[in-house]
Symmetry: C2
Subunit: 676 residues, 2 copies
């Protein structure tokens, strides 16, 4: 059957380029698939809300599938609208009307091939939310049936339940139900297909220790003995998620002895990057087909004959399928996925927003360096401008490292000293501070509850540091103003954002933040990986990787050298393990105190030291909540994040006592009932 | 019965100040309530996540209620945890464990008075989300029963469904079910009380044209003939919401002939301001008690004897109860509510974050003026610093208006010219632009797809404007860095944010944005209202209100005077009606084109002019989505908003076609099926 896949690859290439597929290719494919049972999987990258664009893309694959005579062609969840569309459908119902019109247009072009297309449906019942997350079965010029999503996720980046009504029935409803009246006495299958939408297949009570919902739509479908289970998905990539998804789909298909065909969206919507990697399991739970990750692809499979091609996962991921969910500094198996997740995130954000170019400050440090590499790879080196903006604290090494990096990458580069801006700003600010000091004390004295100008050594002034960071941002936003289709890049990393170690209107400001969900220890591994795996090897100067991270904004009075970040914070290895344990294991302060950290295995630290670092962590995290709330869009990479589309915590909850108290304390605090 | 309310007011005052209530007061109240049927309503302002603080507050009212011998004391939804706690409970389950420990502590101090206290409960079943939004019935030193919220809102600012499990049963479950096993064969009432949580009472199919959920918990409770319906709420204020709430609760109590007692949270959590205004309706649907709005208050009522006191709504709101939901420039009836909503929002954000002071730029324009008044009223004039930062474009009038305003308000004031910063920055940027121009064209030529340096008159450069706005923000953030417990204020208003008419890292940057949900036409009315209704009359110079808004960042080449915002945008009256219609009526482009605007009633405009403004609106709104995503916390005021906690639209959805297309266009675009 090699022929089939070679022919499909050739056709896919033409389809992607919107070129005509050669007649010989078509007739070759026609001959192969004429024996029946062949299904097209259209792993597409729609743009949320751009219905015309999405419809034309869908039409292309429907027409091609018709031409070669496939049984069916399957598209991802909400393919016509693009996922996620969020609250837009509530405020602007016109776009839902439009997607219905285009859906009917798509139905018009169908013939003998069944097209399975995700769209937003109005719920015309007087009860429930206004919309359904639906899939339409199109054939012979008409809508043949509707499948409505039953299980609506509302966690992490998912918000389906906000304006969508969960369907009380599983499987196919008659076409005349468009608008939402459910029939309960009809077959749940269409032509033997048991069709479900994304989350509907994520609730198997035997597979999951804990299920989120009370029904299992797959079980409902299976009762009618489908020949094939089909799931239309929009499932984002996350660390360790491939492992879970593979095991679950394998489990379901082998449990029911029914082949399972899963079509996932690819592309990114703001912060969320979808990995595609559509796949088919046979009725024994064996993987028989798998599409590429982070790319549009059209595949043909025959689930009954076990015909399919397995494209590799991103490198290293196969290995990690057996890894335990434990904290480790061995990031290797996740780095290609990390790279492709971010590259797709950048590329789609720029393309879908109509942006073409990026400018970023190059400090010679790790964060801006990795950002520069990613931007160059995502947008093309000619579309990236790196600006070195040295201050009086910037070392000559940092300046030359930045320039060397730019040369290695082939991006545009210039140097723009910020000395005169710092001097002018400092002078202006000092004048201003003098006037403010006449009315206001600088420091808060908690013992008197008053403000005083008596110097206070507890809180050093960050003003000089911030002037530097903000002057740089002023330069970058200036370029963005003056040069069309260009935005500045925010270079903050996850570890430092957790600690609020980023300047408002400074380095954390930008139009996009590529590495905001990558912890620092992973960034080091990532830099080495980039040096080894990019076409141009070792673009990142070794000196940048070896250097201890530090913002070069202030001098450490103890050493006379620029302050190192780990001095201000704590060792990154330790910090990143706290973050990982909180996000992945939901550990508390006291649990963290008891756990032996990887860092502790090779560094003896006292309990006092550990307590100090943990206290600092919680204190800094609590006051970083505001900064998280104003972060520019970024790409979610890890299993959990602080991205505001993924995690929401009230800013005013900064007084949470993460350590907890004991019962004695509670009883003493509340006193007793004077009547009792 | 006047005695009762006078005594309660005196006691309430002491309780608010955490002072001992006089024995004579207690014995007076004891005598009155000894006849039975008296219930305490504790309208408190908890802090999300600060469980110890909340528990102590709750304990205070429980003890007092016990002392005077009330039948029961009722607290708002999630009183112990604070609402909304959002995703925090998922990432940090420790705080849920803590709230259970404190709940048991509260149970310990109860005697004969039933305390009804909202808290977060673990769901220990293997199915469903991890938590319940619950209320505990505490009495005689123990938890007597649990009520779990059934209807979990997931729209606008509500996200209950993210990590909470909807309860499948209504009413009281036995105490031994703590953790979540539901009994179905027990009484739903506790001591004759039918208790529900917030949204549970918002789904009456006879009252609402459309109900969001399939069950009505109130109807379930009513089946068991409760003597009193009790609802524990955390319901935020919104324009026109009081009208809806009043009509609905009146409808329910008269429909079932059962009195209804409703206790609402007050205070603010980040962007969301809760109005309190707890109330009781008798069994005929008559309002018999209503607490103050936007204040903590302890009330005593007797729903059976129709004993209660009705405190006034915010001024004007009674009038608006009969108003239709139509767009109007008559804002009068909503201005006191607007004022109190924002003042509470500012005050609680500052207090709960441990902030005390604010600094803002005073331009002599309307936005910064209204912000200054609000900040002075919320924080005290001594805690506000106004800085006039004139540039070469700033008129003398603007400077003197700003100073006059500051004097009238009694806030601190200074002038800090930004000329030297602008000059230095401009010089530095021009140098930099020269270097960038060597590699990059400034303008995008869509015909060639290339960038060119051939001047392009379509897009004027905003660089000089933005340098001014950003220099000012640099000054304000500098003060925030240097002076403890102080943040800068972002002065953007709703109309201008809709149009993206705000500078990133400039006027839209700050620690808090007081008027981000107030449209410009309302701000004019608000300014006049402030002048009339504040203790110090006419603090806002008339010249500021009469002036046409404009950022004074650029000169209009046609007039030689500073550019006026309405020239760059469109008349504010017209703009604000578009916004209102989109948010409140979900009207589409074509519907807006057909509607006769209030503006059109007294200004003749051509269809071309209207089309031009509508086109500009949708174009600017589409590219403002990024700015909405990085806005600082603000206060939601209107019925709908663009606050990111309330409305989410993907930034990459900027290509939405809001006009729609016709079927002919669709058929031509998709072509026909070549096989058909």
């Amino acid at each position: 059957m090699n022929d089939l896949f070679e022919l499909v690859e050739l056709a896919d290439k033409k389809l992607l380029e919107n070129e005509k597929v050669d007649a010989s290719l078509i007739s070759g494919l026609k001959t192969i698939v004429s024996s029946g049972g062949y299904i097209g999987m259209a792993q597409i990258n729609p743009t949320a809300g751009n219905i015309e664009y999405n419809a034309k893309k869908i039409a292309k694959y429907i027409k091609f599938s018709e031409q070669i005579g496939l049984d069916a062609v399957v598209f991802p969840e909400l393919a016509l609208m693009g996922y996620p569309i969020e609250d837009t459908i509530d405020r602007h119902p016109i776009i839902v009307e439009e997607n219905i019109k285009w859906l009917k247009g798509l139905a018009d072009i169908t013939g003998n091939t069944t097209a399975i297309v995700g769209f937003v449906e109005f719920n015309k019942n007087s009860k429930g939310k206004k919309y359904y997350n639906s899939v339409a079965v199109l054939k012979n010029g008409a809508i043949q049936g509707i499948i409505r999503k039953s299980l609506l996720p509302a966690y992490s980046e998912f918000n389906d339940y906000r304006y969508m009504e969960p369907s009380s029935v599983s499987g196919v409803q008659p076409a005349e139900t468009l608008g939402g009246i459910n029939f309960t006495d009809c077959s749940k299958l269409y032509d033997g297909y048991g069709i479900s939408v994304c989350e509907d297949c994520w609730n198997d009570g035997q597979f999951f220790q804990r299920t989120l919902y009370n029904t299992n739509p797959i079980e409902e479908l299976v009762k009618e003995k489908p020949k094939l289970l089909i799931n239309c998905s929009a499932s984002p990539t996350r660390a360790k998620k491939e492992q879970l998804k593979h095991n679950m789909l394998k489990f379901i298909s082998s449990k029911y002895k029914i082949p399972f065909l899963y079509v996932n969206q690819t592309g990114a919507t703001d912060n969320v990057s979808f990995d595609g990697t559509s796949r088919v399991y046979d009725s024994d739970g064996n993987l028989i087909a798998r599409a590429k990750s982070f790319e549009e692809q059209f595949m043909i499979v025959n689930p009954y004959k076990k015909t399919g091609k397995i494209y590799p996962l991103t490198k290293g991921l196969e290995k990690s399928l057996t890894e335990q969910k434990v904290f480790t500094l061995e990031y290797e198996s996740d780095l290609e996925r990390t790279y492709k997740t971010i590259i797709q995130g950048i590329r789609d954000y720029f393309a879908k927003c109509g942006l073409k170019r990026a400018v970023l400050g190059l400090s010679g440090g790790l964060d801006s360096t990795v950002c520069a590499v990613l931007m160059a790879d995502a947008l093309g080196c000619e579309n990236v401008f790196g600006v070195s903006m040295p201050s009086h604290i910037t070392s000559n090494e940092s300046r030359s490292d930045a320039e060397e990096l730019a040369n290695n990458l082939g991006i545009n580069f210039t140097e723009a000293p910020i000395r005169s801006m710092i001097d002018t700003t400092t002078e202006c600010l000092n004048n201003l501070f003098g006037k403010v000091e006449e009315k206001w004390g600088k420091y808060y004295d908690s013992s008197t509850g008053a403000f005083t100008n008596k110097p206070n050594n507890i809180y050093p002034s960050f003003t000089p540091d911030n002037i530097q960071a903000r002057s740089r941002a002023m330069f970058l936003w200036g370029i963005s103003n003056e040069f069309a289709s260009c935005i500045p890049i925010a270079t903050s990393d996850k570890s430092e954002l957790y600690m609020g170690y980023a300047t408002i209107n400074g380095d954390m400001s930008g139009g996009f933040a590529p590495i905001a969900d990558v912890p620092k220890t992973k960034l080091f591994a990532f830099a080495r990986w980039l040096n080894k795996n990019r076409e141009v090897k070792n673009a990142i100067p070794e000196a940048i990787i070896l250097k201890k991270p530090g913002a070069e904004l202030a001098i450490n009075p103890k050493t006379g050298k620029p302050l190192i970040a780990e001095d201000a914070l704590m060792p990154y290895e330790f910090l990143d393990e706290i973050i990982w344990r909180i996000e992945n294991k939901n550990e508390s302060y006291n649990e963290l105190l008891k756990t032996e950290f990887v860092y502790e295995k090779h560094n003896k630290i006292s309990r006092e030291q550990k307590t100090e670092w943990l206290d600092k962590f919680y204190r800094r995290m609590s006051t970083a909540l505001y900064k998280w709330s104003i972060m520019p869009p970024s790409v979610i990479v890890e299993a959990r994040s602080i991205n505001k589309c993924d995690y929401r915590q009230p800013i005013i909850s900064s007084k949470i006592n993460y350590k907890g108290v004991n019962e004695k304390y509670i009883n003493e605090s509340l006193g007793s009932n004077s009547n009792a």
